[in-house]
Subunit: 397 residues, 2 copies
């Protein structure tokens, strides 16, 4: 009698969450330092000091009824202006406060965007591997998720495969670069090719196909790799951003949607974003943290830790005989399992107290996600366990 779908969703804990809970239990049994938990994407570096400083300053400067009061539904005007100016400065764009809608984090950015643009029966395309909640968000918006396999060796998009998946029902394409779970950054060439197909198909079908750029990991890139800004490549773009990873604030739920003012329907799409936010119960984003991110924009936690972790883990795993596509960003490695069944591989890994996430839910069988947003010490201590796990497979060959 109640919504079966919602009940099922509530009862099926995500695989990631299951492993995390197992890890907590195991830590109690044998000690936290003996369990190598690589399951969660929770930033391990603290927020920059400027965050707590900004909170204290704002509490002193702003009267309570203003600070803790409602902001406009789109977000405080000054906050949106600051965000727009920052984007213009760093990405050479020409966006304004009126193109920005402040949200309760990345999941809200995606959900609101999908409800704004989708009608029942629409198809939304994304590329494997992908964040599993995409399917939940897309289906709740009345659309269905169509997945296209990326190239196995480097997780860049094969244009021919993409062309086959796009249909007159395609309403949007979700890109996620740097990618969760692979850490791969889409190359400019890949993006140009994707946008070319989308432009041709828009022309052919006579309607818009939107590009949704899910980019909470934008700032988490290493070795001077550049993440192309999609507004420069495609007019019908919505950018879904979150401050969760850059400022290490995932619990505070703060991000934004940028509706490109280059789209012909920009005003209508922005209005639909406002309408979807309203209908889904998002009255406004948390008012204190709107001000905090405006003051701290452009800063990050000490992300050099992630680079160091990546380098140690990648070198260590490669030495043991593991392989994975080169991860230029985010804080994940997507490693080939040493047997076909990634679930079985993860079970074997547990014998060595290694907690890894099987790639099946990300749309790629035979892989595991290793989150390296952990202490460097954990990585160093875990490498012998990874080695023993690999040796077990060698012996059995």
């Amino acid at each position: 009698m109640i919504s079966e779908k919602m009940m099922e969703l509530g009862k099926t804990r995500s695989v990631i969450r299951e492993i995390f809970e197992y890890g907590n239990k195991r830590k109690q049994e044998i000690g936290a330092d003996k369990v190598f938990d690589f399951s969660l994407g929770n930033p391990s570096v603290p927020a920059p000091d400027s965050v707590n400083q900004a909170i204290c300053d704002i509490l002193k400067e702003e009267p309570s009824t203003v600070l803790h009061g409602y902001t406009s539904a789109q977000g405080d005007f000054e906050v949106r202006k600051t965000i727009a100016e920052y984007i213009n400065k760093t990405q050479s764009t020409n966006v304004s406060a009126d193109d920005i809608y402040v949200t309760v984090g990345a999941a809200a950015s995606l959900t609101i965007s999908l409800h704004a643009i989708s009608v029942s029966g629409d198809e939304i395309i994304t590329f494997t591997p992908f964040f599993p909640e995409y399917r939940v968000f897309v289906e709740k918006a009345g659309a269905s998720l169509v997945t296209v396999a990326s190239r196995a060796e480097d997780f860049q998009v094969e244009v021919e495969a993409f062309k086959k998946a796009i249909t007159p029902k395609t309403k949007a394409v979700i890109l996620n670069s740097p990618n969760n779970p692979s850490g791969v950054v889409l190359r400019e060439e890949t993006i140009v090719n994707i946008c070319k197909v989308m432009k041709e198909k828009q022309e052919e079908y006579g309607h818009e196909i939107f590009l949704i750029s899910d980019e909470p990991y934008r700032e988490l890139v290493y070795d001077d790799v550049k993440v192309p800004y999609l507004l420069h490549y495609y007019e019908n773009t919505l950018v879904c951003y979150s401050f969760s990873k850059s400022l290490s604030l995932p619990g505070e739920r703060i991000g934004y949607i940028l509706v490109s003012n280059q789209m012909k329907q920009a005003k209508d799409v922005y209005a639909a974003v406002c309408g979807a936010g309203r209908a889904l119960g998002y009255v406004c984003a948390p008012s204190l943290f709107q001000r905090v991110v405006a003051r701290c924009i452009g800063q990050t936690g000490d992300i050099s830790v992630y680079k160091k972790n990546r380098d140690i883990l990648l070198a260590g795993l490669t030495e043991c005989g593991y392989s994975c596509a080169k991860p230029d960003g985010a804080f994940y490695l997507f490693v080939k399992a040493l047997e076909e069944d990634a679930n079985a591989f993860c079970e074997k890994a547990k014998k060595y107290e290694l907690l890894l996430v099987p790639g099946d839910d990300f749309g790629c069988k035979g892989y595991v996600r290793v989150s390296y947003c952990v202490s460097t010490e954990q990585i160093e201590n875990a490498l012998p366990a990874f080695k023993k796990l690999a040796e077990e497979y060698c012996k059995n060959k």
Copy 2:
């Protein structure tokens, strides 16, 4: 091609918001002290000092990665435990942390509850006058809103009218006491009668009918009036609470859903709440403010200001010849307009710089909502204007 419904919702600003914007413009033209804006329900008293103190303490005590990190989707366990214990202490209930789901405010509480329990074609009943966003939330959940007129003289519920509205399609009944916009508190007798009908109809139809108690104004009651706690009257109850009004934190978006553990389906309904929260993109409620409300629970801003405002405004308006049902709580008066058309009445009021909200959107023609969460000075200065407005109607009789 995009969602027309969402676009329309985004473009139609609420009447309240329109009036508020007009007020801001007018204040710039003639000076803020000359405009008597009674349109918004934004708390006018500051949060208690303990709120900002709690923020500062928590920043010092909790490590950044824990404090600003994800909590579990239902909310931090200790926070839920504190909320449950507070409810038990004040309402003599027996609820536990596992019955509580922490939300991003009252709108999220309602939206998530509606998506959890509703399937397409369901009917949700509420009583006039009602908060207009109910319709938006209910329709987005695929259900339709059925409204039942309350008794004109005191806005209590007529059981006979309610009986006629309830059908086999009725999935839930929303009660809002203290009420926005009337300030009326439902009497215990009224609640007993409503629940009796619901129990009979559950029996007759052979399925659950849920009671949703929307109670952000629970603590805002005056003169020792008691607000009955619905868990004691009906098993299939969901309480939707928000700290927005009690702690004067509407912008911070923090509240909770309590799923009564007395329902037979309690575990399933709680799971559906978790599933709906997940599908709608609510990852967790803001982590800092979860801790803040746990530390400040049971406190309020200085709500004696609201009582003072109510008493001055009610006496002043009555003296001028206005009438309204006795408002025992919240911070609104729902006043009979002096002509049938409340919109025309509000337009006339503007001549005296009085900004009032016509009751049509609340489902009651011929009334206006007067929000008294303003400075006492504004009320005192506005009374002569109310008097002149009334005199204009006397003259024209």
